[in-house]
């Protein structure tokens, strides 16, 4: 927090104070989840409001890690989320560039059709999709987990809009240097879209990491579960009352990779969400 902020008038200070209060309020449920994860299930069956009283325990985390399958689920989630993110970025960028810069018959209709995908709710397509993947024998495979999520209308829309905003002069200069379309896309235009790539990458990664419905019905073998699915499967029927500490530890554990990711890429993420370019 810069000193300049505090040297400003009372309104600025009030604004900053309100922001801090709101941030603390926002963090309260997270702190509660974390505190509950450090309590034994037996204690939490009696009361859930005594957060800062002893005894604390790491047993819930130990229980999660004691299940050897957890590491496989983490690996699966990493493979699926990273591959999905990379492919969504690649496909959306190509499609966005095509729609923004290339003239071809039916471009407008194709773009409208791509955007129409935004209006289709997932449950409407999940059964046909499941049948197609069953026919192809792709369930319980990485391909089965990754491929259905590569159609990303939002990504295409975002990238199209971003490509449209890039000055044509850049492209024309490259064309005068006899650069091919691919070269122009890959070497000249794509590097200009880093903020949009970062935004789309973050959303894609989070969506893939937190995805539950599709892995639930596509991955039926425990060794192909993703982390969200695997952790949910370990919950007992009345986990909300009999295994609350374990449940909260699972929530923290599942969120950890995302938090680590945020810690590493904080600068890019903030810049991307703010619509600017990371310094």
């Amino acid at each position: 927090m810069s000193a300049r902020v505090w040297q400003n008038g009372p309104w600025d200070r009030a604004l900053m104070g309100a922001a801090i209060v709101l941030a603390l309020l926002w963090m309260l449920p997270l702190a509660w989840v974390f505190a509950l994860s450090l309590k034994s299930n037996a204690v939490l069956m009696e009361r859930t409001d005594a957060l800062l009283t002893t005894p604390f325990t790491l047993r819930n985390y130990a229980d999660i890690l004691a299940n050897p399958a957890v590491f496989r689920w983490v690996l699966n989630s990493c493979v699926v989320a990273l591959a999905q993110t990379a492919l969504v970025l690649f496909i959306s960028s190509l499609a966005g560039y095509g729609f923004a810069r290339c003239e071809f018959p039916g471009r407008r209709i194709a773009f409208a059709l791509a955007l129409a995908g935004l209006a289709v709710p997932e449950p409407a397509v999940v059964i046909p999709l499941h049948r197609i993947f069953a026919e192809l024998g792709l369930h319980n495979s990485y391909a089965g987990l990754i491929l259905p999520r590569l159609a990303a209308p939002f990504g295409v829309f975002l990238m199209t809009q971003f490509f449209k905003a890039i000055p044509r002069e850049l492209e024309e200069a490259a064309l005068m240097d006899n650069a091919s379309r691919w070269k122009i896309f890959w070497r000249v235009i794509l590097p200009q879209t880093l903020p949009a790539q970062a935004t789309l990458g973050i959303f894609s990664f989070l969506a893939a990491w937190n995805d539950y419905l599709w892995p639930l019905i596509s991955a039926t073998r425990p060794e192909m579960y993703t982390l969200t699915l695997g952790l949910a499967a370990t919950q007992t029927n009345f986990a909300q009352s009999e295994g609350l500490g374990f449940l909260m530890a699972q929530a923290v554990f599942a969120a950890l990779p995302v938090l680590v990711l945020y810690a590493f890429f904080q600068r890019h993420i903030v810049a991307a969400v703010a619509g600017g370019k990371a310094a």
Binding site: I64, C78, V79, L82, H130, R187, L216
Partner: protein, 488 residues
């Protein structure tokens, strides 16, 4: 050199380490994926069967345990039982468990059926069996049971009724789980509501219950009931179902396609619950977890809840220093009207119709079902009641805490008629309707009529959707007026 080319080269140079990193990451990821994808698979010789179930996964704690007596909880005991079977049949049969979260279980199973990716055995509730039986998705099992030595005649009446469709037995009943009264005897003593043996004095009519509840509140300053009034429509639905059945009534007096919530029995049951709540004789604003916490903290005398809590609460009562220490008992819900009846459901094991299943897989699956049937006493330690009458009558079962008095529940258990479609949704709407009247104070007659309309619209849609297939499957409604799961 043009400025943009200079910029381009600079960018390229600056990005080359990043690019190398990205390429390395891609290659690494592909390698890991290929390795991971190649893991697992069946070993030769053994017949592998898959077991789809909920109850959670607790391999960390019980992954190596083969003695169910050394495990606790539903998850622990079924894991130990599966381990025991695998150890016993090593080299011949292997059961691979596929655990799915409880709330998402049927969603996944439905998708698996559509996609043809079927488990050899799957767990279900008997209340949803009708939806699967009407679609002809379940294998009849009576021949297999006869061959494997599973005695269908030994199933309890509630259990047998729940798995019988169109003249076939389509599942192995595993238990009966029912509503009980979990009682804080310390508070009951304080209110003078215990008999000479120290057991809770149970009411025999609605009037007596209200008198006792008022006396309890005067003596202890606490409500008689700990109720699950928030976000738990099933509590209200199950309560009304039991109270209506106790009056000899039915929610489906004219067959399985139309609910009737305007009968005097339904009105009587709902009015009773409304009186209890309005007079402050029950706790308020509590969901499942809050009600359980409140009961364990001594906030009320009686918590109507399921058999599944027996294990936890008995363990808690055995420990000193809490309000339930040596002050806890569980009893069947008392008969407040003409006849005993209480809501009950069952966990059952089914084998889905699967054209790709080999005779060896089917035989192996049947052998595992036989094993589970034989071990039903081990499962009874969870608090659920055995589905085998011989197990209910056994000395070993009666020796378990509280179980001696719970045997009749297996006989008096009642539910919706087995052929009523979409039972989970029907119970949900019923519960919401009753909660609106009891908790929110909505007008009784109009709200019941609205609830009835919603349920019947739901059933009509379902009936239109699969009316023809029900006839083709030969599934006739088995429940007549006033008769459902129970013995009546």
């Amino acid at each position: 050199m043009k400025p943009h080319r200079i910029q381009q080269r600079t960018t390229r140079r600056a990005r080359s380490p990043l690019r190398r990193l990205a390429v390395a990451a891609c290659l690494g990821l592909a390698g890991i994926a290929a390795f991971a994808q190649g893991q697992g698979g069946a070993s030769g010789g053994e017949v592998h069967i898959t077991l789809a179930r909920f109850f959670g996964s607790c391999d960390a704690e019980y992954g190596q345990v083969t003695d169910p007596s050394k495990a606790s909880s539903e998850c622990g005991i079924i894991t130990a039982l599966t381990n025991r079977f695998n150890a016993r049949e090593a080299g011949r049969i292997r059961v691979d468990t596929q655990v799915v979260e409880h709330s998402a279980y049927y969603q996944q199973l439905g998708a698996r059926i559509v996609g043809g990716d079927l488990p050899s055995i799957a767990i279900m509730h008997s209340s949803v069996l009708g939806d699967f039986a009407k679609r002809d998705l379940l294998q009849p099992l009576e021949d297999g049971f006869a061959r494997e030595g599973v005695d269908v005649a030994d199933f309890t009446p509630h259990a047998r009724h729940g798995v019988s469709f169109g003249g076939h037995v389509v599942a192995l009943p595993y238990d009966s789980h029912a509503a009980l009264w979990h009682i804080n005897l310390g508070l009951m003593k304080q209110a003078g509501l215990v008999d000479e043996k120290g057991h809770a004095r149970l009411p025999a009519s609605v009037e007596e219950l209200l008198q006792q509840a008022r006396a309890f509140k005067r003596a202890t300053g606490k409500p008689y009931f700990v109720w699950l009034t928030l976000n738990d429509p099933s509590f209200f639905a199950r309560s009304v179902l039991g109270l209506v059945a106790q009056q000899g009534g039915s929610l489906f007096p004219r067959g399985d396609r139309a609910v009737d919530l305007t009968t005097p029995q339904v009105r009587e049951a709902v009015q009773f619950m409304r009186t209890v709540y309005a007079e402050g004789l029950s706790t308020r604003n509590m969901d499942y977890s809050a009600a359980l916490q409140a009961f364990m903290a001594g906030a009320g005398g009686v918590m109507p809840n399921g058999t599944w809590l027996l294990g936890d609460l008995t363990t808690r009562a055995a420990k000193p220093g809490n309000p339930l220490s040596r002050q806890y008992e569980a009893v069947p819900e008392p008969t407040l009207f003409r006849q005993p009846a209480t809501w009950a459901d069952s966990h059952v094991w089914v084998m889905l119709r699967n054209p790709r299943q080999t005779p060896q897989e089917r035989d192996a699956a049947l052998r595992f079902l036989r094993f589970l049937n034989d071990e039903s006493l081990a499962w009874a330690r969870t608090g659920q009641l055995p589905a085998r009458q011989s197990a209910v009558d056994s000395a070993a079962f009666k020796a378990l805490p509280m179980r001696a008095s719970l045997g009749p529940v297996a006989a008096h258990g009642t539910g919706l008629p087995t052929t009523v479609a979409r039972q989970s949704r029907v119970m949900g709407v019923l519960g919401d309707t009753v909660a609106a009247i009891v908790v929110s104070g909505e007008p009784l007659e109009a709200t019941l009529a609205k609830g009835q309309q919603r349920i019947n619209r739901l059933l009509e849609r379902e009936s239109r959707f699969l009316g023809a297939s029900a006839v083709e499957a030969g599934v006739a409604p088995t429940a007549q007026a006033g008769v459902s799961h129970g013995l009546r």
